[in-house]
Symmetry: C2
Subunit: 149 residues, 2 copies
């Protein structure tokens, strides 16, 4: 399944902000862009959407930047996905009334809407905090590996 860049980079940016604002400081978009190798201007658009979705709060001015608007374990990934792409969790095929039965309806029930609710169930259980934990675990795993060498 192809995920568009806005969603992909949005999740990356959010994770970056979470990881780099743990001391309480705001994270500049230019730093995120540099670290994650994203076009700064494009990232700004994505951050705009994240702010409008209330996932981050921003501070203007010379010491400005972004922070999470609430703890990472209160940020559901399904909400973020919906904010960045209205279609990603939408049910694939909506049927007209005259297609309420028949092959189309059966395929929809058995296949598309099942696929969709599987997907939705997964991202409804995940929070930003899960991504952060994975990242930190990857880090220490790599450090252990270095040490082992």
């Amino acid at each position: 399944m192809k995920i568009n860049t806005k969603v992909e980079l949005g999740i990356i940016a959010l994770t970056d902000i979470a990881v780099h604002s743990e001391g309480g400081q705001a994270v500049r978009s230019s730093d995120i862009a540099a670290r994650q190798n994203i076009s700064h201007k494009y990232l700004e658009q994505i951050l705009l959407a994240l702010r409008q979705g209330k996932f981050v709060k921003s501070q203007k001015g010379i010491h400005g930047g972004y922070q999470l608007s609430r703890p990472a374990d209160k940020i559901l990934l399904c909400d973020v996905l919906n904010a960045l792409d209205t279609n990603i969790l939408a049910n694939s095929c909506e049927l007209d009334d005259d297609q309420a039965s028949g092959i189309r309806a059966s395929v929809n029930n058995c296949l598309w809407s099942t696929l969709n609710s599987n997907m939705r169930r997964f991202v409804e259980k995940m929070t930003l905090d899960d991504l952060i934990k994975e990242y930190k675990q990857d880090l220490t795993a790599q450090k252990d590996y270095m040490y082992y060498i």
Copy 2:
């Protein structure tokens, strides 16, 4: 998740062929188009892909049409999906070597590739026969309902 029409209609067409060729006769594309309310010419393109993917065999001429190339329970939906859309089951984000670690990698492992393998596991278990069974069950359920009234 938005499924494109080629995939959606392809599955519909395949199911239609299966259901309407049970006596052994070939199913004409024009009949499928009429029953399922699909543009005939567009459907022909989709049937072409289905034939090239060896899911159906065709017979030309005045009594021609399409039939399944093998029993419905030997047609895996994942194969059909792949034949109709090369991206649908592809892993969303491929990482460069220099992104093999870091936030991008963690997000990919924890989120995108997990989502993708969930999806793949589901459609790897399903066959065209499952769709046909669902359709027939829906039919009898509706008949029971009519009778009940």
